[in-house]
């Protein structure tokens, strides 16, 4: 037998359940806009603390993910930045080498310098070109800046060059003004651990001012004439009143050379035009950049003209259902001084 309190209890539960069920079904089958309205209202009032809590949690999660992503990006950027200067330097050196190869009027072989992590690296260089490429003993080795050395031994696929830092290196040289001749040899008194050269055997009467460029003279038949060897930076000593020895700052650094040219012919040629001064080099570089930009502009104008032509043909094509339209586009190029670009064919061209 169920008591009256139990019945009331059961009835109250049933009423509550039916009420909740009815409200749920009403929410379910009511228009969507009503549901969204109720949800919006609840979100902005009663459930605002929960929404705030969830928002903070989501922010925490996304910020953690973002932090991880930013950390990864930073690491990648740092990794790339490590190599960027060296890549730029290598790129610049290769460009210089390319320009030098264009200016050289004699035969040459390009080679990579295979550096070895040894103390003597820089005095002798292992090059990636050998007799197969036409390299022979005593072939001069140059870089865009100037003389690197001379080939000492040659195998089929590689060769060893003696750089100017080698104690046995000698080159006959003269000043760019042509008033003093002598022999350049490595110095034993390099400053700050850097290698230096000595310009020996200059007659006492021939004074060489500081900053004078010293070139190979071509005497001796090993090195061609006109390859920069170094720049006078001071006097080392004077020998008993008949000879002066000057200190030179080397034109090229074998320790940092990565790509070189090995000259394989025409040792009697004058290479002075191939090694212009710094100002001339800068002018040539700027001129080269300007030429590249001009070429890019012309190519861009041509691309635009082609695109316009395609558009015109598409519009004029009867297959597209449109009436043939005569449209002439006359794009102008700023480089060409406003001259009309490639003529755009009219509708009669496309109809054929």
């Amino acid at each position: 037998m169920v008591s009256s309190s139990d019945r009331r209890y059961t009835r109250r539960d049933t009423v509550l359940f039916v009420l909740c069920l009815g409200l749920s079904l009403f929410g379910l089958f009511s228009p969507t806009s009503w549901g969204y309205g109720v949800a919006d209202t609840l979100r902005q009032t009663v459930l605002f603390p929960l929404v705030w809590l969830q928002t903070r949690a989501e922010e925490g999660r996304t910020s953690r993910v973002r932090f991880r992503q930013v950390t990864l990006e930073r690491d990648s950027a740092a990794y790339l930045a490590q190599f960027l200067p060296s890549l730029r330097a290598e790129n610049e050196r290769l460009r210089q080498l390319l320009r030098l190869s264009h200016r050289l009027k004699i035969g040459y072989v390009s080679a990579e310098v295979l550096h070895q992590p040894q103390a003597m690296d820089g005095r002798t260089l292992l090059l990636s070109a050998g007799s197969r490429e036409g390299v022979s003993v005593f072939s001069p080795v140059v870089s865009p800046e100037g003389l690197i050395g001379v080939v000492l031994t040659v195998s089929r696929t590689s060769s060893v060059a003696m750089s100017w830092a080698h104690p046995e290196f000698r080159v006959s040289a003269f000043t760019v003004s042509g008033n003093a001749f002598g022999v350049v040899a490595p110095s034993n008194e390099g400053r700050n651990g850097e290698g230096a050269l000595e310009f020996r055997g200059v007659p006492y009467r021939d004074s060489v001012p500081l900053g004078t460029l010293v070139l190979s003279s071509g005497l001796g038949g090993v090195f061609p004439k006109g390859v920069p060897v170094g720049t006078v930076i001071g006097t080392v000593r004077e020998e008993a009143g008949w000879e002066r020895v000057y200190r030179l700052r080397p034109a090229a650094n074998p320790g940092s050379a990565t790509h070189v040219l090995i000259l394989v012919g025409g040792r009697t040629a004058d290479l002075r035009p191939a090694f212009p001064s710094d100002s001339l080099l800068e002018a040539l570089r700027l001129d080269s950049i300007a030429r590249v930009r001009r070429a890019d502009s012309v190519a861009q104008a041509a691309r635009e003209a082609r695109a316009m032509r395609r558009d015109s043909l598409r519009r004029a094509s009867p297959l597209q259902g449109g009436a043939p339209q005569v449209q002439r586009v006359t794009p102008t190029s700023p480089i060409l001084g406003g001259a009309p670009a490639a003529p755009v064919p009219a509708a009669e061209d496309s109809a054929q």
Partner: protein, 165 residues
């Protein structure tokens, strides 16, 4: 203050903890599809210690929260949670739900039923319905039941009471 009142306050604190876990910790920790549903744990634990009418009301409230905060069809969550709350309360009378494992099993079954009702009421297509009910719902039921077990073991003394007057 009577011990029953103290226990009710403690129980309320546990429910509050579950709500915070649901809205503050859950989004940070797990994949939403299989992570424990702390609100459902709170509902089931409350329903098993309340009268069916109150449990249905609590279910309706939890469902309304779910409908408001999730972009599903409005009303589906309220309907599902109302049914689960009501049935959970009746289920305690049928089964001997004083065992913690039975409580956890109740939670798992309740979650699966809730998902079933929500999916059907939302008009989910057949293929997705099967995938949800055979894969994700059981997984979420397992994790939810596991966490419910932890809660029951941790707060065993609080959940041994019956909230009915």
């Amino acid at each position: 203050m009577s011990s029953n009142r103290v226990s009710r306050i403690q129980l309320l604190l546990v429910m509050l903890l579950l709500v915070i876990l649901q809205f503050y910790i859950r989004p940070r920790l797990w994949d939403a599809r299989i992570s424990p549903d702390f609100l459902l744990i709170a509902l089931m634990l409350f329903a098993m210690r309340s009268s069916p009418g109150v449990a249905a009301l609590a279910g309706f409230a939890v469902g309304l929260i779910a409908d408001t905060l999730t972009p599903a069809r409005f009303g589906a969550g309220a309907l599902a949670h109302t049914l689960v709350g009501y049935l959970g309360s009746w289920g305690r009378s049928v089964f001997f739900a004083d065992n913690v494992l039975v409580n956890a099993a109740f939670v798992a079954v309740g979650l699966w039923v809730r998902d079933f009702v929500v999916l059907v009421a939302s008009g989910t297509n057949h293929r997705q319905l099967i995938a949800e009910l055979t894969l994700y719902s059981p997984l979420q039921a397992l994790t939810t039941a596991g966490f419910a077990l932890i809660v029951l073991v941790t707060f065993r003394s609080m959940f041994s009471i019956r909230l009915d007057p």
